[in-house]
């Protein structure tokens, strides 16, 4: 049983939105349905200023607030540590959207149901060619892999870079940021 997670190195993120549009093509999403949102921070003042782009998407928390608040059980823990949303059960009450501290769940403007990053790139583990956020990133910011396997690429990278979840231990998030 793997426990999938992701590492995002914001030092290499140039804010080009390729991951968002690639994800929309890979998962056939609506134009206004984005599973990745972006924060931009200016550090310093003119002329010594540095820009940091921070992509945020579902952290697939092991103690997911969305799963705990979802009344219909639509949000649930799937296999290999991937948090899923069962589109057949969601009534669109948006409780999970409110409960998610990272604000990365979006409401489908057609069906009214809620959806989020599905870690679809797990399919690439067995070699299927995909244009998910990990493959599409122009500067290779993202590493996806099994956190339980110490010598997986992601585990080694986390140790090497000291990556940590974006908001500390707010939840047991499984996206580790290098900042």
């Amino acid at each position: 049983m793997a426990n999938y997670g992701m590492l995002i190195n914001t030092k290499k993120c140039i804010g080009c939105y390729a991951c968002r549009t690639a994800c929309q093509r890979q998962n056939d999403l609506l134009p206004d349905e984005a599973f990745i949102r972006f924060e931009e921070r200016e550090v310093g003042t003119f002329p010594r200023v540095r820009v940091e782009h921070v992509p945020l998407q579902c952290m697939h928390c092991e103690d997911a607030p969305c799963v705990s608040v979802c009344p219909t059980g639509a949000a649930k823990y799937g296999t290999d540590g991937i948090v899923e949303v069962d589109q057949g059960r969601c009534i669109g009450c948006l409780y999970c959207v409110a409960a998610c501290p990272y604000q990365v769940r979006v409401r489908n403007s057609q069906t009214g149901a809620v959806d989020k990053c599905r870690f679809c790139t797990v399919a690439a583990e067995d070699g299927t060619k995909m244009c998910s956020c990990v493959e599409a990133c122009l500067t290779g910011c993202r590493i996806f892999g099994d956190l339980d396997d110490p010598d997986s690429e992601i585990s080694k990278a986390i140790v090497e870079t000291g990556a940590a979840p974006i908001a500390g231990d707010l939840t047991k998030a499984k996206i580790y940021y290098v900042r």
């Binding site: 140039i14 390729a18 690639a22 929309q24 093509r25 134009p31 003119f46 995909m130 122009l138």
Partner: protein
């Protein structure tokens, strides 16, 4: 009343017998959706087809996956030198143009009341041909012109059509893109461009060029590798653009004064004998005259003009000298001196000369003069070129330095206004919105007797036209092979990914072939696009089917070799520190300081355009996937520096009035530290004024509304950033 034949008539073929409809196969929509969803997950009938992205002129090669006739995922081809395995956001977004609800579906003619009506292709061809022959009789073929943004098939067919008619006036969009840059560099080194070997460089300077905003994936990767290898990467830009993520230094500069910076750095190299004297002596001519002419351009002098501290200029020049020859100034594209200022051409010349001082031509990490692959000579008579039209491109006399391959399209606009040009064809070009002042161009182009626009959707230019010919989207057509240059020359092919969606639309090769037949010059188009493509590929040892399978093929045997002594095909066969052509054109023989045309009076800001990573000029604004990003993150907002905003009492996201004599508009503004004071940045993609581009219409300001119509002396560019604006809070 009994049933009779009429009311039983039906559109659905095969139902004449009516009763015969098989009673078996009807499923309700719900059941169908269920089955459809499962089947989609199970990867139904999937095809993978190689094509070239059409979202910008990089034309990255990618593989499109089609499931049951519907486009799904796109994956950049690793073997394509531009994509190198990736696509940018525009690539993914613009692929949806195929299904856009705002697409043109039938040929259109403007009726007497000025409204468009659908007509048949035959009627369109006949009427256009009649008008063309009428113009040729009255004013000769020279009264016709073509403006296009070159794409693989377009650059061949459209130009061949115009040449077949006998008109030399084939323009590209260069006058609003990189005309000054290419022309200026050609004056100095006889070539229009070079490739900076960024990843192997010890130092590279980017002037108004951001690899991470004007994205070509292979360049972003090269920049990242250079950054990781510890190369010194200097971004000279009024804006702290996204490439500063991979830069060691951001040098904010006053817009339009890059020439002063380059001259000052050159001055430092020459004065301190830090330049490659033997290389200059062996390859240059007129160096002493230039050295003398710029002796006054000291760093202190440059500081007043550019706002860059003198010691920074001194240091940069020294760092360049120390890093040479594995160092260069990147050629840039449109931003700083592509077409922006009265001194753009001269700036391009100075940059080329500066690289010569470094002696970095064809050196590892320096500036590489790479060659491009090309199709060999085609001996089949059908492909023979039409006779060369006599007379030269309109504007050659007025703007002698403008590169002939592009010509000054804005001058063509002026000629339309003056009535010299009577008929104009536009392919894949939205001149009226992007090349220069839209109000002026609208007036000028409506003066034409015949205006034909060929495009995928209605644009500002198409609105002005008499005839609009609908083209298929790039995914529904195959095009001629794209021969490209770079370290390893290559050829890439755009194959047809989707069946033609709107039956009444045609691909550009069909359109121009049938137009030529209608105009009586069909003999130059007696071949199909496939035949020509196959013939071209056979001259380089390939063929259409093999390339269709692979998408892109490289020619390692023609790869670039470091250290090769460059051949300068300038008139003097040397690097021209002094150019006789420039002197004849009324400029200084050697590039010296030229003041930009507009100097902001107090309270006004210098206006700069620029690129957002998700948009390509006005072409991608109507794509919902991309426009939704712009709306969500306010990417249309003008930028103003925190210092200026504080002085004007403006806070982030305030609604402000942006105005000058040309135009006035309101928009939320972005207050940021990432721009130099005294400068306002408006992205060059928004403010679409075409109602039927429902997604793009009326969103954001259009920068070109603020730019008056004027043309750069000698070079013929549109001077797209020679404008100033005032900003004040609404209600202030």
């Amino acid at each position: 009343m009994s049933e009779n034949a009429i009311t039983r008539r039906s559109f659905l073929a095969g139902s004449a017998g009516v009763a015969a409809a098989a009673a078996v196969g009807f499923t309700s929509f719900g059941a169908w959706q269920q089955a459809h969803a499962e089947e989609e997950a199970g990867e139904g009938r999937t095809e993978a087809v190689h094509t070239l992205c059409n979202a910008c002129s990089s034309k990255c090669g990618y593989t499109a996956y089609v499931v049951d006739g519907k486009l799904t995922k796109l994956i950049g081809d690793p073997q394509n030198p531009n994509a190198s395995g990736h696509l940018c956001a525009r690539g993914y977004g613009y692929s949806q143009i195929a299904y856009s609800k705002d697409r043109l579906t039938d040929p259109l003619k403007k009726n007497a009341q000025g409204r468009f009506e659908a007509i048949s292709w035959d009627q369109a061809y006949a009427e256009i041909a009649e008008k063309v022959s009428e113009i040729i009789e009255k004013d000769g073929p020279g009264a016709l012109a073509l403006v296009q943004d070159p794409r693989p098939s377009g650059s061949y067919y459209a130009k061949r059509f115009m040449t077949a008619l006998g008109s030399p006036n084939s323009y590209t969009h260069g006058a609003a893109c990189n005309l000054s840059k290419v022309s200026g560099i050609t004056q100095a080194i006889g070539a229009g461009d070079w490739v900076s070997d960024v990843e192997n460089s010890r130092m590279t300077m980017f002037i108004g060029r951001s690899y991470c905003d004007g994205i070509r994936p292979s360049q972003v990767a090269a920049l990242e590798r250079a950054y990781e290898n510890g190369s010194r990467l200097v971004m000279v830009d009024p804006r702290c653009n996204n490439s500063t993520v991979f830069a060691t230094e951001w040098v904010p500069i006053t817009p339009g004064t890059d020439l002063a910076l380059v001259l000052a750095m050159s001055n430092v190299l020459i004065k301190n004998h830090l330049y490659d004297a033997d290389f200059v002596a062996a390859n240059g001519v007129g160096f002493d005259e230039w050295a003398e002419a710029i002796s006054g351009c000291t760093p202190a002098w440059a500081e007043q003009i550019t706002g860059v501290p003198a010691d920074t200029i001194e240091r940069l020049a020294a760092e360049f000298a120390e890093a040479a020859p594995a160092a260069s100034i990147e050629p840039s594209w449109r931003g700083a001196y592509g077409c922006a200022y009265a001194n753009s051409g001269e700036t391009a010349r100075a940059v080329a000369l500066f690289n010569t001082l470094l002696g970095c031509w064809n050196q590892p990490g320096g500036a590489l003069l790479t060659s491009s692959a090309a199709a060999g000579k085609l001996d089949d008579p059908r492909f023979a070129a039409p006779p060369k039209p006599e007379g030269t491109l309109l504007g050659t006399a007025e703007y002698p330095l403008a590169a002939a391959s592009m010509g000054s399209a804005v001058f063509a606009g002026e000629m339309a206004k003056a009535g010299v040009l009577k008929g104009m064809f536009f392919y894949n070009s939205n001149m009226a919105a992007g090349y220069s002042n839209p109000a002026y161009l609208a007036e000028a182009l409506s003066n034409l007797e015949l205006m034909v626009v060929c495009d995928v959707q209605m644009s500002e230019t198409a609105l002005l036209a008499d005839y609009v010919l609908p083209e298929t989207s790039y995914l529904e057509r195959a095009e001629l092979p794209e021969f490209g240059g770079g370290k390893v020359p290559y050829v890439a092919l755009r194959s047809q990914v989707l069946d033609v969606i709107h039956p009444n639309t045609k691909s550009c090769d069909q359109i121009f072939t049938e137009l030529a037949e209608a105009c009586g010059v069909g003999e130059y188009f007696a071949f199909t696009q496939e035949e020509l493509a196959d013939a071209q590929l056979k001259t380089v040892g390939l063929d259409l089917d093999s390339l269709r399978l692979v998408g892109t093929v490289q020619f390692p045997e023609k790869a670039f070799a470091y250290g090769a002594a460059p051949k300068w095909n300038t008139p003097t066969k040397k690097v021209q520190f002094t150019s006789e052509a420039c002197a004849k054109a009324g400029l200084s023989a050697s590039p010296v300081w030229v003041e930009p045309q507009t100097v902001p009076e107090d309270g006004a800001f210098r206006l700069v355009g620029g690129k957002e990573a998700i948009m390509t000029h006005t072409q991608t604004a109507n794509i919902p996937e991309l426009m939704n990003i712009a709306e969500q993150y306010g990417l249309d907002r003008p930028w103003i520096s925190a210092a200026d905003a504080a002085a004007l009492g403006i806070e982030d996201n305030d609604e402000c009035v942006v105005e000058n004599e040309q135009h006035s508009g309101t928009s939320k503004v972005r207050v940021t530290e990432r721009i130099a004071p005294g400068v306002v940045y408006i992205p060059s993609h928004f403010g679409c004024s075409v109602p039927e581009q429902h997604t793009a219409y009326g969103f954001g300001l259009r920068i070109m509304d603020y730019v008056p119509f004027h043309i750069e002396p000698a070079y013929g560019s549109a001077m797209t950033q020679e404008a100033t604006v005032k900003i004040k809070k609404v209600g202030a």
